[in-house]
């Protein structure tokens, strides 16, 4: 069952999400899809933004999504996200992902490494899923590489409880052709099922 794990006081609740990936992995599209799904789910305030500036294939980049009950009035870059989604685990070696994630925040990683190996960062909630494996199993690839951005939306839904699969499906169908939408959604569902979440250590 999905649940909200954040309690940030009653006024101006806003969830900030940073997507980490490499150019070509579709982080910008993932950030957009999440904004769209959240809006459909009656969050009145959503924004999604790419890293401002030029984009290079393969280079580390981020995109962001803000989700709030009220229309969003700020457009500055996110300092400390509530949730970080990592599409490529090799980024841990080159980007300080933890520096932009708040303590007790949620970290969602596309990895084959089992959850118990991710124990060095005890101050976060961690969720893992083999999104690349799921994409390959469902023959969802683009230019020879598995499509990982859409399954990570399923992992996001599972781990955060902020958006439901129903609205992710709607957002996908809005953006993609019927056939593409349904193929992508298959991986979203699979990732939702296979995501394993660990509460932070106390």
């Amino acid at each position: 069952m999905a649940f909200l794990f954040f309690c940030k006081g009653d006024r101006a609740i806003m969830y900030e999400v940073i997507w980490h990936g490499r150019g070509g992995q579709g982080v910008v599209v993932a950030a957009q899809m999440l904004a769209e799904a959240a809006y459909l789910q009656e969050f009145k305030g959503v924004t999604s933004a790419p890293t401002f500036g030029p984009e290079r294939r393969g280079a580390p980049l981020t995109a962001s999504t803000r989700i709030a009950q009220e229309p969003i009035r700020i457009f500055s870059q996110i300092e400390e996200a509530d949730i970080a989604v990592v599409l490529d685990e090799s980024l841990f070696k080159v980007v300080d992902i933890f520096s932009r994630l708040r303590k007790n925040g949620l970290l969602i990683i596309n990895t084959q490494t089992p959850l118990e190996k991710w124990d060095e960062q005890g101050e976060y909630r961690i969720a893992v899923v083999d999104a690349a494996g799921i994409a390959l199993r469902h023959h969802l690839s683009k230019e020879g590489a598995p499509v990982v951005n859409t399954p990570m939306l399923g992992a996001f839904a599972r781990a955060s409880g902020l958006v439901s699969l129903e609205y992710i499906e709607k957002a996908l169908n809005h953006k993609l052709s019927k056939e593409q939408g349904s193929r992508n959604f298959t991986t979203v569902k699979a990732a939702y099922e296979e995501t394993i979440v660990r509460e932070k250590k106390d």
Partner: protein, 402 residues
Amino acid sequence: MSNVQIMTGNQAAAIGAKLSGVQVVAAYPITPQSQLAEILSQYIEGGELKAEYVRVEGEHSALTVCISASTVGARVFTATSANGLLYMHEQLHWAAGSRLPIVMCCVNRGVGAPWTIFNDQQDSISQRDTGWIQIYCRNNQEILDTIIQSYRIAEEVYAPIMVCYDGFVLSHTMMPVDIPDPEKVREFLPPYQAHTILSPEDPRTLNAVLFPWRRANSEGVLCDGYMEMRYKLQAALERSPAVIQETSRRFAEVFGRDHGGLSWGYRMEDAELIMTGMGSLASEATQAADILRDEGIKAGVVGIRVFRPFPAKNLKETFRGAKGIVIFEKGISYGYEGALSSDLKAAFYGSENQAPVHNYIAGLGGRDVKARELADAARASWAEMQTGIVEKPTTWLNCYTG
């Protein structure tokens, strides 16, 4: 029924131009405006927008095409950024002097040198004195709506309008935008009825050289000199605030959204410390006001939408209760201070409002400016103002100044 879609500022601008029924588009791509030019060319190529897209080799020509098409009676649109706008500079004066109701988007970007592709407002601020009306938008809905409003305003006062919005910060950020019903837009903004006198059957010269004094034409009629024609441009801009406010009010009636006419306020009811600025920076300041209010400081925000004509009369009223004013600007008049700061202080000249004014230059070349940082600056200024520091040098926010 609303039709909300999640989109970038550039998409919103393209839809605004399409709904306005523009007939000629001439634009040269430049970051961060490019997506806007691309979407419009797609609309036209796909037949979704019945208009002509004139491909040009640069921005000077883009505006020249718009000037020509507008002169013969078409509703025209263009858009640019930064050095592209600077390259148009000569034609900006020409468009205004010709009294053409051209609407263009300036997707605000810092100017070179050194090169930057990122956001500030130096590009449009530097075009302040060209005779264009300038409107600054704070979110993507406002961009779309302002373009539609702008054609109505421009075609009533016969002055061109620059719709300014922050590059990347708005142009590339997606957010919900309610797309107005095309039928309702057509009612609000009927097709342009030009007063053109140009026709192939009756060739004439427009804007020929004028001598310093008024002169009789060949039929003996005494005609305006250069100075009379320039005076009329000034008079048109002076009467435009009333048209802008009326258009905003009428728009709100039809579409249920009021972006504020000349300026907008946030938590202004009993505000003593007023932060002000233009575009997304003013929107960011609204969160700074929340932070300061939580601390017990009566803070509010005035977002200035219309920078030219400068709504001095309106702002004098708006700032009446201020005990301290903090201005954040993404541009500067080098060697002095922010242009908005100078104008706002001048508006208070001789009035009873002699509140201290502190000026911050922020976010040049895309440097990030957070609500927290705006609150810190305003709080520091507020403390200084309590100790009697009325004037202080312009402060560069988030900048290493040695």
